[in-house]
Amino acid sequence: MKSISPLPLQAPFDHPAIRDQFPALKQTLGDHPLCYLDTAATSQKPQAVIDTMNEYYQLNNANVHRAAHQLSARATSQYEAVRQQVGHFINAAKPQEIIFTHGTTESINMVAYGLTAQLQANDIILIDTAAHHANIVPWQELAKRTGAIIKPIPLTANAQLDLTAYEQLLQSKPKLVALCHVSNALGTVNPINDLIAQAKNAGALTLVDGAQAIAHLDIDVQRIDCDFYVFSGHKMYGPTGVGILYGRFGQLDALTPMLTGGEMIKTVSFDRTEYGEVPNRLEAGTPAIAEVIGLGAAITFLQGLPRQDIAAHEQQLMAYLQQQLLSLGDITLYGIADNPLQNNIGSVAFNLANEHHQDVGILLDQQAVAVRCGHHCAMPLMSDLNLAGCCRASIGIYTNKQDIDQFIHALITVKELLL
């Protein structure tokens, strides 16, 4: 696909200029500038994404795939161009392997529902103990429908996937292995290429939840070699309401559609309805057109930046954040790898002494620091860590050292109030 859309010319690394493109970050809350450290929940949007969606509604708004008029033709070609763009972005073999969904959750649900006919009683599904609920509950429902058995892959003491236990579990010849690429709660990174290769050798279908990876890592689905890779637009500087289901074409083609209706059919009669081809077969109804086009703008934005410099910048910030937190004292960090090659990405999870994470969150909020406090939609992980919850500070492309300093300064004040 590399020939289809050449990469935009990359600008030299100018971090203030990158941050400047995010209007939401320019506000102050009370006496403090907004310190947004909740990118893992949703990223802020660059002006280019906002403008693109605005322009779509002002000039090109029409339904897609019914191009009897010029507006619809424009909307359709913009929409389909994003399919190509996403395919190129993650190196899919062809654009038909890209399905537009409403987000990661819907993508996983579509796979879990779509595989119902392919699973039988006592088939084994391996899931990641660190998974987000979106990568747990759809499999539980699939297990209910089919009689399949769910087995969680345990974690080591510092919350990394237990590779020995994983190898043992693979000996039971699971039908499906669902992993996360980067944990949403802890920012831990799975060695995904190896894990998928092992699962494939054991004959399993594989799905990777890339929601927390897509904004931080270069994703090459052919290199990862998974059957399905899923992510959301809103965590990669794009709009909410759009997500991606990548699937190997043969695997997508074998899924039973979860949604049926318009757009996904070839012919409909009261005797017999024939479904259309993938990708349309898996995109029933009018899609989130403006959001898809906005996602395209987010990818163009990302591709215009020097990604290696961004990755280095984020890595430096993460190290600084972890080090500053630890130097505060009375801070426990969770899921920090011993192996520096497995450095956490995007998120740092912590608690302050024995204080309730919600108290910490409320007091940080008073100082315009936005972090997430809770179970992070990963209750099995929290229970594995023996925690009621924790705080999570997460960074993005726009985060700078001043954000970390403001956060640490605010946390010192919280500490003075609570301890």
């Binding site: 309730h356 919600q358 108290d359 409320i362 406090c373 809770g374 004040t413 109030l417 609570l418």
Partner: protein, 153 residues
């Protein structure tokens, strides 16, 4: 209403008027010079509220909508409403105490007329009451009002 018979403590000893200092503490919250002082007073107020024994931390007394855990019990005596509440988070417990100062021992009519939003506005805490907050304060305020309304015979 939630049963509290799990304990041997007589109801009359559980549901009591709050110490007068608590009302003073609420005034201190209102007059706090800055947010730090405000939240320090909120936590101090929470500390003055009795702690529920583990046997009272029952799922059916739990108030939904809190990221932290919060429990609420209600008792009506001689036309007055009494509440017993606790939370595992200190600020939430303080916010609960603020609610109880305004509602403890009040009549059904007084509680139905109680303007929660206005009350928290006056204290400079309007943001904390929003239903979109995970501190559960809005749910607690609604539960306090609902208990009073539903217990009318």
């Amino acid at each position: 209403m939630t049963q509290i018979s799990a304990t041997n403590t007589p109801e009359s000893q559980l549901f009591i008027s709050l110490p007068a200092e608590l009302s003073t503490a609420v005034t201190q919250i209102e007059q706090a010079k800055n947010w730090q002082e405000k939240y320090r007073h909120i936590m101090l107020l929470g500390k003055q509220l009795p702690t529920l024994a583990d046997e009272f931390k029952q799922a059916d007394a739990q108030v939904k909508g809190c990221e932290s855990q919060a429990w609420l019990y209600h008792h009506q005596h001689n036309g007055q409403h009494f509440y017993l509440a606790d939370s595992d988070a200190r600020i939430v417990k303080g916010l609960i105490a603020i609610l109880l100062v305004a509602t403890q021992g009040k009549t059904t009519e007084q509680i139905s007329q109680f303007e929660v939003t206005q009350y928290f506005d006056t204290l400079g805490l309007s943001g904390q009451l929003s239903p979109s907050r995970t501190n559960g304060l809005n749910a607690l305020a609604e539960a306090i009002k609902r208990h009073a309304k539903e217990s009318v015979t």
